[in-house]
Symmetry: C4
């Protein structure tokens, strides 16, 4: 673990910042990065940690199939570890994966009328998402039904790979996954989606 | 009091954190823990303290019937002390009780149409509550009418013991009680309920 | 000024805390306390100061009619100084007066249908207001039309003295005045009214 | 650059404060000031910087037509640099220009029914805007359609100069520009408009 200490410190600080925003209630949410030197390893947040106090020691190492790696044996990884594994496999340039559990993401993903996606249209901030160069764009943030069976959910993501080109998706009544080729990029995608979800929620609340 | 100093410091910091979130307006809310060595004693916040500046010295010790214990004679405990006493009696594994007074809790508990409970359904975050292992659950957060007569209110809680298995209830236009076997667990229950109340309020505000 | 330094430091810290909450946009809002030794003097915030950076040096001394006192000649007091003078005269036990400019207070005071008052009913937190001992109470927070003529507005307050027994009033589309016999009490009244205004606004936003 | 170091430190701190409020999601927003000694130079934020960590080194110097000045060759200025250039030309006393990307500004500017302006009426806080001395005023905050062609957008601003006398405008689904003769004044205009946008959004959300 020692060789990733700096990255773990940086990501832990980011996780506490996320928590301050109210985006990780209870012990929800999880976070990972690809080991910078050993790409067969993923460094991921442990299960059940309160993100208010999350530290660089609250990570563990797993292999690309979600099994605890040497030095992390016996530690329980997040229940959603396989989602991380699958995203790293589907998008090989991905280096960081972030999962938040904000109120707007939880609420909007649970509305029946949007069973498949929320569409954002005409927003300047869309230009911060992969492949978008003008506000005259439409971006679909896919919504997948929540599932406790992670093997099944992993296949669902794989089957929907073509819908995951803009760096994020929602699990219904569960929250947002966002990723990128660096912490900076993953953070940018995350912030943009959280911002847009807040916009859309407030728009729906206008009489 | 000296032997509980570390726990008082920890809880006082948590109380100021609650206050920063706006969940303890005026001098509202109260907090307690069971004395770790003398289980006939409860350490509870004093009455009338502004939680912005709450410190480890703003606690007192009471017995299991709410009377000031030796060393705390003449200090006024919170008006709602008997609620704490009753919860420790009903749920013997409880170690911490937390009471917040947030806007969503205050407002939603006062809606006439929900005179008995608010039901949360299908949320991933429900898995952080006692006995819940899947999002495919329904959890009822009981609402009790507010009452200035604490002897009467205490009996009401006792009569409703079977509805209090998921670690929380609301007093109408008054706020949330949440508890757990540790500060970490009580905090988790509290955050989950506050998060869900905010979700439900925003859902009701969608046109 | 020197003899009030400690009180100015304490109030300035409180003012920056108010600002952090977003309750003093632009250079709005003003604050005062009665000189603790010379009751013919009021210590009040100067005009036009950004509250983000408000310090103990941003006060001045005025007499009970709002004229700059010795040592503060040539400094411009807040435009609303006469409101403070009148409240100290009407309620002789008052020691602190606080004026915020929050979004809920600004917005709700401007609704035509509440030209005279907002009524708060059944809230536990009402018990923190003067003379209220049960949640089974109704408290009216008076709303007065905004006015640039402070001599006229002062008379309006005087004429409505009997409606000002619970420590606060609103100026329409302008904000809240709250006061008390100590900073602690004035802060309590302020927080309670701001909390209740947020509740009522959210209640109106439920479909 | 060295001679503007103090001003860059001051503005960078302000930019991080803006970010904390959630008004600069992703790498959105930009900020500038006129070089205090060489009025043919503008100091402006670089393109693509996350404002969470914005520092005094994240500025660059450009000429009045938006070209990188000596010492800043090869650095990419913000895409919206020409908006800054045009505003400094149209309003020669302007010293600071601030651009935020808040949720209320983004959302309200995108409502079809307000294609040209949002009108604020009767608010006390209007008195903090240029030329307004009473709350009995109406101020129009112009809304311009978003545009990726900055040469064209610049002309649009020029043609609407007479509508820009109160220190701000909105770009649809993009955010607010505000300016002033000092950082203090520009900040005041910015805060007032953001406050009023939040008021109007909440007003529209009342049932």
């Amino acid at each position: 673990m020692e060789e990733t200490k700096e990255k773990r410190i940086e990501l832990a600080a980011f996780i506490r910042w996320i928590n301050e925003k109210g985006w990780s209630p209870g012990t929800s949410t999880n976070y990972s990065f690809l080991h910078p030197e050993q790409e067969d390893k993923i460094v991921i947040s442990r299960s059940g940690i309160d993100k208010t106090y999350f530290s660089e020691d609250d990570f563990m190492e797993i292999d690309r199939e979600g099994k605890p790696a040497k030095g992390s044996e016996g530690i329980k990884p997040s229940a959603e570890t396989l989602i991380h594994c699958e995203l790293y496999n589907l998008f090989p340039s991905t280096r960081y994966i972030l999962h938040t559990h904000s109120m707007p993401g939880t609420l909007l993903s649970g509305k029946k009328e949007w069973e498949e996606a929320i569409t954002f249209s005409g927003y300047e901030v869309l230009k911060g998402l992969p492949g978008i160069s003008t506000h005259e764009s439409e971006v679909e943030l896919p919504i997948f039904a929540n599932d406790q069976d992670m093997d099944r959910f992993r296949l669902l993501i794989r089957d929907n790979q073509n819908r995951l080109q803009t760096g994020g998706f929602l699990m219904a009544k569960h929250g947002l996954y966002a990723w990128g080729n660096s912490l900076q990029e993953a953070k940018r995608h995350l912030e943009i989606y959280e911002f847009l979800l807040t916009c859309e929620l407030n728009l729906l609340q206008i009489r």
